[in-house]
């Protein structure tokens, strides 16, 4: 079995269009929340979202390419470019056939879909753009990354709502660890901020009217976000042999399903996924320093996740430094797990734990250390990243700092 290391990170986020700017914002506690600008919100109640700002497609693609790429694929390819460039890998000379591209998305090309339906139903359009189907399909980000970089091995999308990216990275990790592929490009992308999709989220009545304050008293729900993050994975020996800079190591992956409620979180499912990740990593619970929580900011998730952390870690739960990245970038669904994986790799590498922002004070149901409102400089060696999706699908990755 190979040890699996990370040699590239790429990020397109509401707080920065590169991994460096994203990480600088997270450690500074800077949030990406603002009023909607990229979709018509006139008939909506939503007044706060986390949009990717300053993203100009023409800066990244020529006109012909843009015709093939929904916003969700644009984010994915731009994030992958950064990650692949950092890794120093080229997939053109045979390596592409031994490389996987596994990229999740919760709902695929929503901008294209929304525009198309508006034209058909509201404007009675006689004809629509010929590439709506291949722009909208949830596997478009994975396919586009495959085509842009010449990746010809196992390539597919995982669609497990809020856990899509974590499942994708976990699958890639297992393929590289087992030697089924040499390298993998994995992560997630989401561009869900359209009038139709936000309206549908409003109907679930779980969006916060003010801001996202995970684990805090007076938390009022989640804030919708968007973005993409991509990781390049390869065997430790392969990275060392080519002299690559190693950013971190993935050591375990665990999955579970609740088989219960469609949307309500279930502590048992969460516990089983965390336990599976620890077992896969060969780590005991007491060896974990940091948790990047699912931490959506809803009443139900944060209380349930806290209960699951108590059950998984026992007395050690009180010693965990727990962060919710969603307190700054919102909930980017199918990209969330990848954005959070990038945050974990950087936290382990730099010895800085990003904060949970907008924290007002403890809720009796959330009684752990959530690193409130300010980043913490603290050397950490191991971390879990949690993703718990609608549909009762749970995925947890275990990471370790790479010390050479």
């Amino acid at each position: 079995m190979n040890r699996v290391v990370i040699t590239g990170l790429g990020t397109v986020s509401p707080v920065g269009l590169s991994t460096q700017s994203y990480w600088a914002a997270l450690t500074a506690g800077r949030s990406g929340f603002a009023a909607p600008t990229i979709f018509d919100a006139e008939r909506l109640n939503t007044r706060v979202v986390a949009e990717v700002k300053g993203f100009v497609p023409a800066d990244h693609f020529d006109a012909r390419q843009i015709g093939f790429l929904d916003r969700v694929s644009q984010f994915a390819v731009v994030a992958a470019r950064e990650a692949v460039a950092q890794s120093g890998l080229s997939f053109r000379d045979g390596l592409g056939e031994r490389t996987a591209a596994i990229v999740g998305s919760g709902i695929g090309g929503q901008t294209t879909q929304d525009d198309n339906f508006k034209r058909i139903y509201a404007e009675n359009a006689v004809r629509v753009h010929p590439l709506i189907i291949p722009r909208t399909m949830p596997n478009a980000p994975a396919s586009q990354i495959s085509m842009f970089f010449g990746i010809k091995g196992p390539t597919y999308a995982v669609s497990t709502a809020c856990a899509s990216a974590t499942h994708s990275i976990g699958q890639a990790f297992h393929l590289v660890r087992a030697g089924a592929v040499t390298c993998a490009v994995a992560g997630g992308s989401e561009a869900q901020l359209t009038t139709g999709t936000v309206k549908a989220w409003e109907a679930m009545r779980i969006l916060a009217p003010d801001t996202c304050r995970p684990f805090s008293r007076e938390r009022k729900g989640m804030v919708l976000g968007e973005g993409a993050a991509i990781l390049v994975l390869e065997p430790l020996d392969h990275a060392v042999a080519r002299g690559a800079a190693i950013l971190g190591e993935i050591v375990g992956f665990g999955m579970s399903a609740d088989a219960g409620d469609l949307t309500a979180p279930d502590p048992d499912g969460m516990v089983r996924a965390m336990a599976a990740a620890l077992a896969d990593a060969g780590l005991v619970p007491d060896a974990i320093d940091h948790i990047n929580a699912h931490g959506t900011g809803t009443t139900a998730n944060d209380a349930t996740e806290t209960a699951a952390l108590h059950k998984t870690f026992g007395a050690h739960a009180a010693r965990l430094a727990i962060s919710s990245t969603k307190s700054m970038v919102g909930h980017a669904l199918g990209a969330a797990g990848a954005l959070e994986a990038v945050a974990v790799v950087m936290a382990l590498r730099d010895g800085v734990i990003p904060p949970t922002m907008n924290y007002l004070g403890p809720d009796p149901a959330c009684d752990l250390d959530y690193v409130p409102n300010e980043a913490r400089r603290q050397p950490i060696a191991t971390a879990l990243s949690n993703s718990f999706a609608f549909g009762g699908l749970n995925a947890v990755l275990a990471f370790r700092r790479f010390d050479g």
Partner: protein, 85 residues
Amino acid sequence: MVDVAKGVIELVSGKVRNKQGPLKMSDALENLGLESLDVLELTFAIEEKFNIEIPFNANTEFDFKTVGELVHAVEGLVAKKTASA
């Protein structure tokens, strides 16, 4: 207002899991076996039927404890809408 009460009770009845005879105004909603998605769907159904907006965020407690409280709240919202129309 009789119509509102009848309509709300019909919609609530459709969601009840532990049926024990006809619904009474004093029945506590939490004893009717409504799960969170049932409450969500019920709220939507009431809004659609009476064309009103019920202010409700699932992150806060459902404000109405009994069938009667829910009926009165809907009656209030319908009256307000009629008055402003």
